[in-house]
């Protein structure tokens, strides 16, 4: 990379000194014809020694009101009423909607047709209110913050408030892992558990934390707080994103729009109570510390020269000495170690990101990369040895299989109108986000150059698609790790720079008046199907959970428990006592063969002499359609066939599902 090299190709020590002595850019007038509200990024520097304002934590808001709480109040005064009104209207609509969300009668479109119109209205009002506050983001950055938190809460709190059971099958699986850890009091990284469950003993960090919290809170299980994870993780992620974006832009409008877009584009469902959700938070922490505190001396080049920078770009942060960077590495060691203790893939993503950042002279921190790599290898070769070596063994098979590794899930395309809508919304979201981001990178070259580390970080994990499919999830993980950079540049595409006076810049700013709210509403429209379109798989009636637990409790230890898919709550209940067979989680062709004689097919897979039970629930019916395992009607065919078969006896049946026991004696 040549970013630290000046136009003449020389190292930038001297060039930086030139930039150092450049006079500060004068304060722009508060209102210009193109920026009537004065939202343009502030330019003037303040005298050294001015204390930072709490509501301007990244240290860039220009007019500095007095001290203390007065500053906070001042930020909310003035045109505050205009900013407050949409918030109050949205809050009223949202609260009114909450009790009217029909989550107990979810049909094929998830919650989409169960949200009342007023719920959608509240989100649109929040979006428009946010856009309004952006006009004064330079002087009152607290308001976009308030709206961002409100949107996070409005989007992700309803399940936490309403649901009486654990949302999402995988969250329930993690609840089961925490429960087992508490029961055992330790982990067994060398023990073999079926269904890949040993991996959770090999990377137990996040579960150990949750188990400790369960005991310290004095609650029965993680289920009591599990549904709040998306809100909490979102709240903790927000200031980190803010720090990262503020490092690359002085324009608060761009920064907050990027944060907003990140929230809407984060639909991949990795924010539940999960090691990857937690590790992602820690990954962002490392990224934020690095971009802000690991700038090498003499590496900024022209990137502190206002004449060179995009009007919205921020100058490269102050450089740090090797000693201070070493101290920062020490500070980051527990964070990186916690990532390694918690999740298999994130340490690799982190190392790849740090390696990609080393391609820039600014962030060539080989020490941090070496420490992160050493921690990763240490964990892989000790606690995670078995899975690591097993994965290495499959690499030859998976390596280079780009199509196979990037395929989401195991099976075919989702079937049914709801899942199809979700699939289309996902693709559209990716196209819109990617299209906007690429457009900004191409059209705002100077911003792309100063924010090059974000581009590198966004693309750093992409090569992993060529290596492994990670159980059908690799493509989602690559998307997730690319999201911070993609959201920043997508925002740059719809928030044109203030200040530039060219005809194109004027046209861009006029277009943005319409394009910005339209784009944000469109992304909101994409988020909702992606996040809530398959809610039939994610909300489970208490009766269904009771039926599932009764079925497991009824089975003797060591029994084989069959279910169409593992994507149902409590599928992993007491998972160390039973073996599981989720029999539709395979290629579609094989499932079509199975549907011709389900009872015979299943009986053929049950080891002789093994007690076996089949659990079929409404959530599984949703999941096999949503994941594309079975064709429409396939689940009903399967259920009817098993019930009629002499090979299986119905043990329990209700609207919450059916439990069957295998009767090998009748097989003759």
């Amino acid at each position: 990379m040549s970013e630290g090299t000046g136009p003449d190709g020389r190292e930038q020590g001297a060039a930086t000194a030139t930039a150092d002595t450049a006079p500060p850019r004068p304060e722009e007038p508060a209102g210009t014809p193109d920026d009537p509200a004065g939202a343009a990024p502030p330019r003037a520097e303040e005298p050294a020694g001015t204390p930072p304002a709490p509501e301007d934590p990244a240290g860039a808001a220009p007019p500095r009101p007095p001290a203390g709480t007065a500053r906070g109040l001042a930020a909310l005064r003035g045109p505050a009423a205009l900013a407050l009104a949409p918030l109050l209207v949205a809050a009223a609509l949202w609260l009114w909607s909450l009790s009217r969300i029909g989550f107990r009668s979810i049909d094929e479109f998830g919650l989409l047709d169960r949200f009342p119109v007023s719920f959608y209205a509240s989100l649109v009002v929040l979006t428009l209110g946010f856009v309004l506050t952006l006009r004064r983001a330079g002087t009152a950055p607290a308001w976009p913050a308030v709206y961002s938190v409100a949107m996070l809460f409005a989007l992700k709190a309803p399940p936490a408030i309403l649901y009486d059971t654990v949302r999402y099958a995988w969250a329930s699986k993690h609840d089961a892992i925490i429960t087992r850890l508490l029961a055992e009091g330790t982990v067994h990284p060398g023990a073999e558990l079926t269904g890949g469950m040993s991996a959770y003993d090999q990377w137990p960090g996040f579960f150990a934390l949750d188990a400790a919290l369960v005991r310290a809170f004095g609650v029965e299980a993680a289920a009591s707080f599990i549904n709040w994870a998306p809100v909490v993780l979102g709240l903790l992620t927000l200031p980190l994103l803010l720090l990262v974006y503020r490092t690359f832009s002085d324009d608060w409008r761009l920064v907050w729009t990027a944060v907003w877009i990140f929230q809407l584009a984060n639909w991949v469902g990795q924010d539940y109570l999960s090691p990857q959700g937690f590790s992602y938070l820690l990954y962002l922490t490392v990224l934020a510390v690095v971009v802000r505190h690991f700038v090498r001396p003499g590496s900024a080049g022209p990137l502190r020269d206002r004449a060179f920078l995009d009007p919205a770009a921020a100058a490269v942060p102050p450089a740090t000495t090797a000693r201070r960077r070493a101290v920062a590495v020490v500070l980051l060691v527990p964070v990186v170690a916690a990532v390694n203790a918690s999740h298999q893939l994130t340490p690799l993503m982190l190392c790849m990101t740090l390696a990609a950042l080393c391609l820039t002279r600014r962030y060539r921190n080989l020490g941090l990369l070496a420490v992160s790599g050493a921690l990763m290898l240490a964990w892989y070769l000790t606690m995670g040895r078995e899975l690591f070596l097993g994965t290495l063994a499959t690499l030859r098979e998976k390596l280079g299989d780009l199509l196979g590794n990037s395929r989401p899930g195991f099976a075919g395309d989702p079937t049914g109108p709801g899942p199809e809508l979700v699939g289309n919304a996902n693709v559209l979201m990716i196209l819109v986000l990617g299209g906007l981001a690429v457009a900004a990178v191409l059209l705002r070259r100077r911003l792309a150059r100063s924010a090059l580390p974000l581009i590198l970080a966004a693309g750093a994990s992409a090569p992993l698609v060529a290596v492994n499919d990670y159980g059908g999830e690799m493509i989602f993980r690559v998307y997730l790790f690319g999201l911070p950079g993609a959201a920043f540049f997508a925002a740059a595409a719809i928030v044109p720079a203030a200040g530039a006076a060219s005809r194109a810049a004027l046209a861009a700013r006029r277009a943005a008046v319409v394009a910005l709210p339209l784009a944000l509403v469109a992304m909101l429209a994409g988020f909702l199907p992606s996040y809530y379109g398959k809610e039939g798989m994610h909300y489970v009636q208490p009766g269904e959970i009771e039926l599932t637990r009764r079925a497991f409790d009824r089975a003797p230890e060591g029994a084989l428990v069959l279910a169409a898919t593992g994507a149902f709550t409590d599928a992993y209940y007491r998972y160390d006592r039973y073996e599981r067979w989720f029999f539709t989680e395979q290629e579609v062709d094989e499932n079509l063969r199975m549907l011709k004689d389900p009872a015979g097919y299943l009986a053929g897979g049950i080891p002789a002499g093994r007690p076996a039970y089949v659990i079929l629930t409404p959530t599984q019916a949703e999941a096999v359609i949503g994941e594309g395992y079975l064709p429409p009607g396939g689940f009903a065919t399967l259920t009817d066939s098993l019930k009629k078969s002499p090979l299986f006896a119905v043990v329990e049946e209700s609207r919450f599902g059916v439990v069957l026991r295998y009767r090998p004696t009748t097989t003759g």
């Binding site: 930038q12 020590g13 930086t16 000194a17 930039a19 150092d20 450049a22 500060p24 520097e45 050294a48 001015t50 930072p52 709490p54 301007d56 934590p57 990244a58 860039a60 009091g185 330790t186 982990v187 137990p204 960090g205 150990a208 934390l209 400790a212 919290l213 005991r215 310290a216 809170f217 004095g218 609650v219 200031p239 980190l240 803010l242 720090l243 503020r246 002085d250 938070l281 820690l282 922490t285 934020a288 510390v289 802000r292 505190h293 700038v295 001396p297 003499g298 502190r304 206002r306 921020a314 102050p318 450089a319 740090t320 000495t321 201070r324 101290v327 500070l331 964070v335 916690a338 203790a341």
Partner: protein, 150 residues
């Protein structure tokens, strides 16, 4: 660094941090699930260890330090809590008392130690140079060109 006096706001914050862990430990005697129990425990586990490392900072902070403190304290705290809990479970020695006790001890010690020049706690110029300012002078994050001399 001079020994902090409890009369300063910083010293009071550090004393409160040091006490918070023992308070969290004490409230575990309350009935399980009570808000009087889980709120102090969550606040302590989720914030105190990170704050104890980041808060003791000398002199005036540089701009951005407030948000950094806010943003980094929770992930750092949760990381330390994760490592503590993992270590205890690996040693088959987990108990609430051990978990909170270790963290409370760590926070107490960290809060008593003098300020560590961690990045988020930093102040003054980032690197020595001809334009280095006197210690304790606040540093504007956006201010350009103070570091490029190295």
């Amino acid at each position: 660094m001079a020994r902090p006096r409890l009369t300063t706001p910083l010293a009071r914050s550090r004393a409160a941090l040091a006490a918070s862990g023992w308070v969290a430990l004490a409230v575990t005697a309350l009935p399980g699930g009570s808000p009087l129990r889980w709120i102090p425990v969550l606040a302590f586990v989720g914030l105190a260890p990170g704050l104890a490392l980041l808060l003791p900072r000398p002199a005036a902070p540089r701009p951005g330090a407030g948000l950094e403190l806010f943003a980094f304290a929770a992930p750092l705290s949760l990381s330390l809590a994760t490592l503590t809990a993992t270590g205890l479970f690996l040693a088959a020695a987990f108990s609430v008392g051990a978990f909170l006790g270790i963290l409370a001890g760590f926070v107490t010690v960290a809060a008593l130690l003098p300020g560590v020049p961690l990045p988020a706690a930093g102040s003054g110029p980032e690197e020595p140079g001809p334009d280095a300012r006197p210690a304790g002078t606040a540093f504007r994050f956006r201010e350009r060109g103070r570091d490029g001399t190295g």
